[in-house]
Structure formats: structure tokens, C-alpha cells
């Protein structure tokens, strides 16, 4: 019986490791909206690039990562009828940040359960934050973010798919639908 349990735990750990490596690990999405903000914005622009250390040198100043984030956000905002225009006249300024840190995951996640070595895995957990700033007041009006995201940096295809999936999930948290009215 004990051997069967151990085999089951090993299989579960292996499954989780494979799922994580394939970018299928669960992701945690949150958002914050400034109270009283009427989300009637219909134009946006990207804030200028800034060189910020991410915690993983592979992602520092990484245009391939940054452009995939921007492309995914562009697609989501276009689908909501918000138009990208030059920054001098846009109503919203959008920026994003990513930080990477190692996380230790233990299986089973409830550590009150008995286990052997607890199926421990270490992975690179990213936090991707998307900020929307009112261009007139320079106030942050909305922030959405995803936590514990393994960006699968070593595989460009998987990385792009992971970003796309994460951005889609974040943008679902936007106050919806964005109305098309004069500012």
C-alpha cells in the first residue's frame, strides 16, 4: 500500500514537473482598479522603454519578450475597441514590468499531509504586471498582474505562447466593456 502511494506521489510530481515545463502550470491573476474611474478610454499608447533589471539576465532588455507582451496587449485592447495612437495624444499610457525569482513548490501543496521528500520542485516564477495610467492626470487607474508564471525562457515558442495566455487572462480583468464615448 505504501509503495503504491509512493508511486502515485512520484507520478503526480512528474506530471506537475512536465506540466510546469510545458507552460501549463496554473497561473494566478489579479487586478486593481482605481475607485471612481470611468473606463471610457478609447485611445492608448505605450510608455517609453526603460532598462530595468528583471531578476533574470536573459530577460533584461529582451526585445523578443517585450514585443510579445505588447503584441498580446495590443490584440486584447483592439478587440475591446481601444485604439493605439501616438503617445502625445493618447488618453491612456500603458506599461509593463516583469520580475523573475525562484520559487520552491512542494507536492502535495498541503504540507500537513505526509510525504517523502514532498515532491519538491524549483522553478523560475515570474510576475508580469500591466499598468494603465491616465495620460492627463498621470495617475495609475488600473493594474493587472499574473503571479507564479514560468515564462519558459529557454523555449521561444513556449515563451510566446505563455505570455499570450497570461496577457489574455490579465486583460479579462479589465472593467468590461470599455465604452466608446468622448472623454
Amino acid at each position: 500500500m505504501f509503495a503504491v502511494t509512493r508511486r502515485a506521489q512520484f507520478a503526480l510530481s512528474l506530471l506537475l514537473a512536465v506540466a510546469s515545463a510545458a507552460g501549463c502550470a496554473p497561473i494566478y491573476v489579479h487586478a486593481y482598479a482605481e475607485r471612481g474611474t470611468a473606463f471610457t478610454y478609447r485611445t492608448y499608447a505605450w510608455a517609453p522603454d526603460t532598462a530595468v533589471a528583471t531578476g533574470d539576465p536573459r530577460l533584461d532588455n529582451n526585445r523578443f519578450f517585450a514585443e510579445q507582451v505588447r503584441a498580446s496587449v495590443d490584440r486584447e485592447l483592439t478587440a475591446r475597441g481601444v485604439e493605439k495612437i501616438p503617445s502625445t495624444s493618447s488618453e491612456l499610457l500603458i506599461d509593463f514590468h516583469v520580475t523573475i525569482a525562484q520559487e520552491v513548490a512542494t507536492t502535495p501543496s498541503n504540507r500537513n499531509e505526509h510525504c517523502v521528500n514532498c515532491g519538491t520542485t524549483i522553478y523560475d516564477a515570474g510576475t508580469l504586471v500591466i499598468d494603465m495610467v491616465d495620460a492627463r492626470s498621470s495617475r495609475l487607474v488600473w493594474r493587472g498582474w499574473v503571479e507564479k508564471l514560468d515564462p519558459v525562457i529557454d523555449n521561444q515558442d513556449w515563451m510566446e505562447e505563455t505570455i499570450d495566455r497570461a496577457v489574455t487572462r490579465i486583460m479579462r480583468k479589465l472593467p468590461y466593456p470599455i465604452q466608446h464615448s468622448e472623454f
Binding site: A51, A53, P57, R58, F64, V104
Partner: protein, 178 residues
């Protein structure tokens, strides 16, 4: 007096140790770009990001050997150094970060309480980043990296040279195979 066979064994063991430490490489590339169109390169200016470790700053041996290794590998692929009309601008970073990994040598343990911490060990990991920028557009078109645990490369120049050669060779295979 030490016998030659003892020295040979020490050298062999050290070499095997350095050679066996895991080195992983990866790259990102501009989609759809023909990388064979580039024939000349020059060294570009580094960006403002920090090196990450003071032991690697102003390290002339590292700089000379790394740039020499890259130039050699690029020459083998038909790219020549050109200060006047470079098609590619190259810059690089090297950082050292503290990392954790699971101690594979730790015996399996039965964990009856919430206080059973996983068997982790800390180590220093070096990351070499090599950026290729199209000189005409000033856009990053290829980034390669190599990562490995730091052993004694910072103190032993032979090992540093070996590690650089290994990293550059494997990174540039991903840029353009020979």
C-alpha cells in the same frame, strides 16, 4: 617529490570536474530573418544594466578571451570584424546570481510535519549574454545565453578560458551552425 602520474590524475580530475559541470545554452531570434545575410560585425557599447558581480568588472582577461572566442567562432562562420562598416553590433553581459537547486544527494526523507523543509542547496550561477544588433536598424536580432554553476573560474584562468570557449561555441551553434 610528486610523481608525474599523481599530477596527471589531478589535472584529469580537475578537467573532468570543469567539463562535467552542467552548461545550458539558449537563444531568441527575430522571426523570419535570414541570419546568413550578415558578414561583418563590430563591438557595440554595452547598455546601462549592471554587471551583477564586482568580481567580473574590469576583468581584462575575461574581456580579451571572451571577445577572442566570439571573433574566432564568427570568423569560422564567415563574419569578419569591421570597424568601418559593421552589419552587426555585438555586446555582451556577464552576471552572477545566487540560485537554489534540490540536493539530489540528500537521502529520501519521510516528512511527518509541516516543518519538513525540502533539501535545497545554494550555488552561484554565471550567465553569459551575447546580443547581436542589426547596425542598420539598431534592433536586437539575436540573443544567446549560456548558464552554468560557478566553480573556480574566477580564480583559475585556465578554467575560465575553458568555460568561455565552451559557452561561446555552444551559443554560436544556435546562431548559425557550422
Amino acid at each position: 617529490m610528486t610523481r608525474p602520474s599523481t599530477w596527471a590524475a589531478v589535472v584529469l580530475l580537475t578537467t573532468v570536474s570543469v567539463a562535467c559541470a552542467p552548461l545550458t545554452v539558449g537563444s531568441h531570434v527575430e522571426r523570419g530573418l535570414d541570419l546568413t545575410r550578415y558578414h561583418t560585425f563590430d563591438w557595440g557599447t554595452a547598455d546601462a544594466l549592471p554587471q551583477g558581480d564586482p568580481r567580473l568588472e574590469r576583468n581584462a582577461f575575461f574581456k580579451d578571451h571572451f571577445e577572442g572566442a566570439v571573433a574566432k567562432q564568427l570568423a569560422a562562420r564567415g563574419l569578419e570584424l569591421s570597424a568601418t562598416s559593421p552589419e552587426l553590433l555585438i555586446h555582451y553581459h556577464v552576471t552572477i546570481n545566487h540560485r537554489l537547486e534540490i540536493d539530489a544527494t540528500a537521502p529520501a526523507r519521510y516528512c511527518p510535519t509541516v516543518d519538513c523543509d525540502p533539501p535545497l542547496i545554494g550555488f552561484e550561477a554565471e550567465t553569459l549574454i551575447l546580443d547581436f544588433i542589426d547596425a542598420a536598424t539598431n534592433r536586437l536580432i539575436w540573443r544567446g545565453w549560456a548558464q552554468h554553476p560557478v566553480e573556480d573560474e574566477l580564480e583559475n584562468r585556465d578554467h575560465m578560458a575553458h568555460r568561455i570557449d565552451q559557452a561561446v561555441t555552444r551559443m554560436l551553434v544556435r546562431f548559425r551552425p557550422l
